[in-house]
Amino acid sequence: MVAKLKNQYGSGIEPLTYLGQNYMVVDRSMIPEILQILRNEEGFDYCVDITAVHYPKRDKQFDVIWVLYSFPRNERIRVKTQIADGETIASSVPIWATANWLEREVFDMFGIKFDGHPDMKRILLPDGWKGHPLRKDYGILQQDNEWVQINLGIESGQ
């Protein structure tokens, strides 16, 4: 399957395996198309997870990762792409309904926006919160002091 996609799309896709798990690194521009093909033609009908990893030293700071599973094939695959800070990526809510909350969590934690998402807002942190906690430059003891003071009426949550 991956070989077929590789033939079709050439250098934009790089199939890899680590510890017996398959994943592919895909160019950001091809993401919507590849995800659509995986869903419709290759049978990856269940989007297990969408997440991201922050590499602040890299030029393209973020890895966005889709973990997919196919019920007919009983197979997992991960799709990975790199994007820079401030860049957006196409939402996969039209492909898998479950992407809705998962993408909101990625936005909440990393500040990555998904184009075409029906309700792009924070999910775990309060709406007015400043900062995205899972970025590497966000300290573990850091908090939005202004928000805490206004909304909780205390000096600090710590």
């Binding site: 297990v48 990762i65 973990v67 997992r76 029906p118 924070r122 775990l124 573990i140």
Partner: protein
């Protein structure tokens, strides 16, 4: 059936207008509500008693578990995972330990695997018992709560004797187990299995053909198998919709492939079927425990794992069948003693998303039943 892909977000900014125009009402349920099993806030849009749509507001229990993981060593983070789904802490620990073991390319020895399976299945039963008691209580049946908590106590006693803790057990270590079983562990497990078998019939006697129970659960909160897959719903909720899928069978982990057990499924995907599926899972768990306790081999309980855990650079996704559904860990290692990134794929969080689809068109009282039947734990939803 509402197509889950076409659901639009609720218009919450203009409730007054809709209230005057069409008798629509936007009300709040929670976050401090006895039937939301924790701090879940649900904003309901109603037409009289009928639910037109709802939105979940979550995050009240957010503790930043994933951020904490990045700042602790692999070993130090192990007890933290117990605090996510705190009624099924053993499953959380199993998933995490196995993920790190995969990253290190080691495998727990057979004796440890058997004991892991026994404890995990006991915990699955404890989790289901807590679900049954509280779910029935929400719907108005008070008795099952006393029955299930009485019997759950016996499981917690075994945990306490084994590792000293009842809920957040931290029972497993990366590479195996820290503790050898105590004297009489196998006898205790056998005694428990014989004790609880007739009790499960007792629960069923109380509810399965109870007319009030049937009225309150049949045809309530229906979700089709197709929608469940689209919404990423897993665990008993998915199986009750007729999809025969269990990670223990589909992609076996630990040593589940050594045991005979069935995957119970439902047909209608309603609250009643989810109840039936979980009741059947009790019996399957007992089957697994019975086989495992007879076959515990002798041998070491820890694999050869270095004192300082430093997995090679790489990433891994490993998932297990937790009592609530697929619990996955995505770990990224940069070759140091701390994980570069820990991502937890929580089953409760993803399953809760289906609440909107399952409740549209239902009555307000049914929302309570559906929240109960989804079996969410807010500690895991919010992490």
């Amino acid at each position: 059936m509402t197509d889950p892909t076409s659901l639009s977000p609720l218009d919450l900014d203009t409730p007054d207008k809709t209230f005057l125009d069409a008798n629509e009402l936007v009300i709040n349920m929670g976050p401090q509500h006895p039937a939301t099993h924790g701090v879940l806030r649900v904003i309901l849009r109603l037409d009289g008693e009928k639910v037109l749509g709802l939105e979940c507001v979550i995050g009240y229990l957010h503790r930043g578990v994933e951020k904490i993981g990045e700042h602790r060593t692999y070993t130090m983070f192990n007890p933290y995972v117990d605090r996510m789904d705190y009624v099924a802490a053993v499953s959380n620990g199993l998933g995490y330990c196995e993920a790190v073991e995969k990253l290190l390319n080691v495998e727990a020895p057979p004796r440890a695997q058997y004991i892991r399976v026994i404890l995990t299945e006991l915990n699955r039963m404890a989790s289901h018992q807590l679900w049954l008691g509280t779910h029935a209580l929400d719907i108005g049946a008070i008795t099952p709560l006393f029955y299930t908590f009485r019997d759950r106590e016996e499981i917690l006693k075994i945990f306490e004797k084994y590792c000293g803790a009842r809920l957040t057990t931290h029972a497993f270590r990366i590479g195996g187990l820290q503790y050898e079983t105590y004297e009489g562990f196998e006898k205790d497990v056998r005694t428990f299995v014989n004790f609880v078998k007739p009790k499960i019939d007792e629960y069923e006697e109380l509810l399965t053909t109870n007319r009030i129970w049937l009225e309150r659960t049949k045809g309530v909160g229906i979700i089709s198998g197709k929608d469940a897959i689209a919404l990423g719903v897993t665990g008993p909720v998915l199986r009750a919709s007729g999809v025969k899928w269990d990670i223990r069978k589909a992609q076996p982990y630990a040593n589940y492939k050594n045991f005979d057990f069935d995957i119970p499924t439902g047909e209608n995907g309603d609250t009643y079927d989810r109840y039936i599926v979980r009741m059947a899972e009790f019996r399957q768990s007992l089957r697994i425990i019975e086989q495992a306790v007879e076959g515990i081999p002798e041998g070491p309980i820890m694999a050869k794992v270095p004192k300082v855990i430093k997995p090679p650079v790489g990433e891994i996704y490993h998932s297990i069948e937790a009592p609530k559904g697929e619990l996955g860990y995505f770990l990224v290692s940069d070759g140091s003693t701390q994980p570069y990134r820990v991502r937890v794929r929580p089953p409760s969080f993803v399953n809760l998303q289906a609440l909107d689809v399952m409740c549209r068109g239902a009555m307000v009282a049914d929302v309570i039943a559906v929240i109960g039947t989804l079996d969410i734990v807010l500690g895991e939803v919010d992490r």
